[in-house]
């Protein structure tokens, strides 16, 4: 290897090391800066500037001993520079030299002092700001992954199968909206907290689900997104440890993620829960999920929607074989879920549980009621479940029609193949 080769390799290594530092530090950096400059968009720009400085300097100087502090100090200097520039402009316009200068010095002192405080509160403020209800769900997701997950615009675009400029624009607009609506950089209090927290949880679960059951595209799962959502969930659980629903959501995601390896066959096809090889479930994640569920339960009160869904997932996780599943308890939990968060999809799941606990006829009765539900028109799982129950009752001709209908409704290629296979199997059994 020549000296030039080795130098290129060192530079590439440093770049990868900087990526890693960015992954670890960016959210805290942006959060700390946002508290100082009171503008999330500006805070991110300052953090990006610091990253660019690191990319320029670290390959020569090496990664500093405390890279987070280096990035913060660099961004802080940029913030002060900007402030001074702005003040100079103001002074030109206003001719109020003395007063503006005092104000500037106070601001600089504030920036200097603000750095070493506990960063946890800032991170929480950033979470609530990125998931603010003034933003569309897509914007919340993009901003959360960008500001808190440390993902690049390109990574977000690839994860959601949309063009990069679309994501970039979404983020720019979101930042603009936050500034225009003067969304304060703070943690909501009192009654507002519950509603705002549920907006945050919704964003995390949306990210997780996009990774877990990709709504579009050729892959059945995009595990990196699941991992991002889990990481953010675990961070949030540390930031607000007394909120049961946060632990509920973490429990739900941990337990669902524990099945990742088992729910994809060798050629990438989906494998349904009851047909999965349970030995391939990740026991470490199951243990973590059950522990998180226990934390949610210990905080007292009735479980919320995420806690209940986690409790249902836990019933499956505890059963070593499908036959050991406590379907009656699952049906009861779906009933409770239906009361606090009524939705036709929950009812559909309750129908499945009833069918497992008390026979396919019991489930089909509820499913038949749901076929009139406007919200479920076009939802592929309704005919898919109905087909399954009909097949179990030996009504194969009707079952086949339902599977075919379900196949025509799903947007996921892998799922379509599975449904068509089931439809074909009904035809064979019929003959």
């Amino acid at each position: 290897m020549t000296a030039a080769d080795s130098s290129i390799r060192t530079h590439q290594d440093t770049h990868r090391a900087i990526d890693a530092v960015w992954r670890i530090e960016s959210a805290r950096l942006i959060a700390g800066l946002a508290r100082i400059v009171r503008d999330v968009g500006l805070a991110e720009e300052l953090a990006q500037d610091a990253l660019v400085a690191a990319l320029e300097q670290w390959p020569e100087s090496g990664v500093p001993r405390n890279p987070g502090a280096w990035l913060m100090a660099t961004a802080k200097h940029r913030a002060i520079d900007q402030l001074r520039r702005r003040t100079r402009l103001e002074r030109k316009h206003e001719e109020l030299g003395r007063e503006v200068e005092t104000r500037q010095e106070t601001a600089v002192a504030e920036i200097e002092a603000a750095i070493d405080d506990d960063i946890g509160d800032d991170l929480l403020r950033l979470v609530f700001t990125a998931c603010h209800p003034v933003l569309s769900p897509e914007a919340r997701v993009a901003l959360t992954l960008r500001l808190l997950g440390g993902l690049t615009t390109d990574e977000i675009a690839r994860a959601f199968l949309v063009p990069e400029p679309t994501v970039a624009q979404r983020i720019v607009r979101a930042k603009k909206t936050l500034a225009e609506k003067r969304v304060p950089f703070e943690v909501p209090r009192g009654e507002e907290l519950a509603a705002r927290l549920s907006s945050v949880l919704e964003v995390l679960y949306l990210v997780f689900n996009e990774g877990y059951a990709a709504t579009a595209g050729e892959d059945w799962m995009r595990p990196a997104l699941c991992e991002d959502a889990l990481r953010l969930g675990r961070i949030l659980a540390e930031l607000v440890p007394k909120e049961p629903e946060v632990h509920g959501l973490v429990a739900l995601m941990e337990i669902q993620a524990s099945r990742s390896r088992a729910r994809i066959g060798p050629s990438g096809e989906p494998i349904l829960l009851l047909e999965q090889n349970r030995a391939r479930w990740d026991q470490l994640l199951i243990r973590r999920g059950l522990a998180a569920l226990q934390r949610a339960e210990k905080l007292g009160g009735a479980l919320g929607p995420y806690g209940l869904q986690a409790a249902i997932a836990a019933c499956h996780a505890r059963a070593r074989t499908p036959e050991e599943t406590d379907w009656q308890r699952i049906a009861v939990l779906y009933g409770a879920l239906s009361r606090i968060a009524p939705s036709p999809i929950v009812e559909l799941n309750r129908a499945v549980a009833l069918a497992m606990a008390f026979g396919p006829a019991a489930g089909l009765e509820l499913v038949d009621e749901l076929t009139a539900e406007p919200a479920l028109q076009g939802y592929h799982l309704l005919p898919s479940v109905r087909g399954d129950l009909l097949a179990k009752l030996g009504r194969f001709e009707e079952a086949r029609a339902e599977f075919e209908r379900a196949a025509s409704l799903t947007r996921n290629e892998r799922e379509r193949e599975l449904l068509l296979r089931r439809a074909a199997a009904c035809g064979r059994t019929d003959q």
Binding site: R16, A17, D19, A20, V21, R23, I24, P67, G120, A224, E227, L230, R231, L232, G233, R234, I235, E238, R261, P266, N277, R278, A279, R280, W281, Q283, L284, R287, R288, R320, T321
Partner: protein, 142 residues
């Protein structure tokens, strides 16, 4: 990706039974563990008793032979581990670099194998093994 950060404290190979780190070192390590937890990357961690209370099972000629600790010939022994979930090898190394370890400690960073890392025939063999475990009523790690 999952990584193990394996802690190898020099001198642990001959440490007396019941040897534990002092309170200051434990406090510093707790702070580090907390930072891993708060960053959402920590999956599991454990510390190990010194090898003086352990044993090694070797297989000379294919037959198990038990040697009680300490192991005079061992140069490096494990003191504990962290299991973390990160995006890259570099991120794992960065986390390891932040450990408040002392001069006589080494952290070895190793990626955890996933089933998808194996060629198909090994995967198949492993799947059969997993099923066997299920039938005998044991699930791994439970």
């Amino acid at each position: 990706m999952r990584f193990m950060m394996l802690m190898i404290p020099k001198g642990y190979e001959t440490a007396a039974p019941g040897t534990v780190p002092d309170a200051a070192a434990v406090a510093a390590m707790m702070k580090y563990n907390e930072s891993l937890q708060k960053a959402g990357v920590l999956l599991a961690l454990d510390g190990l008793h010194p090898p003086s209370t352990g044993a090694r099972v070797t297989f000379p000629g294919g037959k198990p032979k038990v040697t009680d600790g300490p192991f005079a010939e061992a140069k490096e022994v494990l003191g504990g581990y962290w299991m973390i979930q990160v995006k890259s090898r570099e991120e794992a190394i960065e986390w390891a670099s932040r450990c408040p370890a002392s001069e006589n400690e080494i952290i070895e960073v190793r990626q955890v194998q996933e089933m998808s890392d194996f060629p198909p025939d090994v995967q198949e063999a492993a799947a059969g093994f997993a099923e066997m475990q299920m039938k005998s009523g044991h699930s791994p790690g439970a």
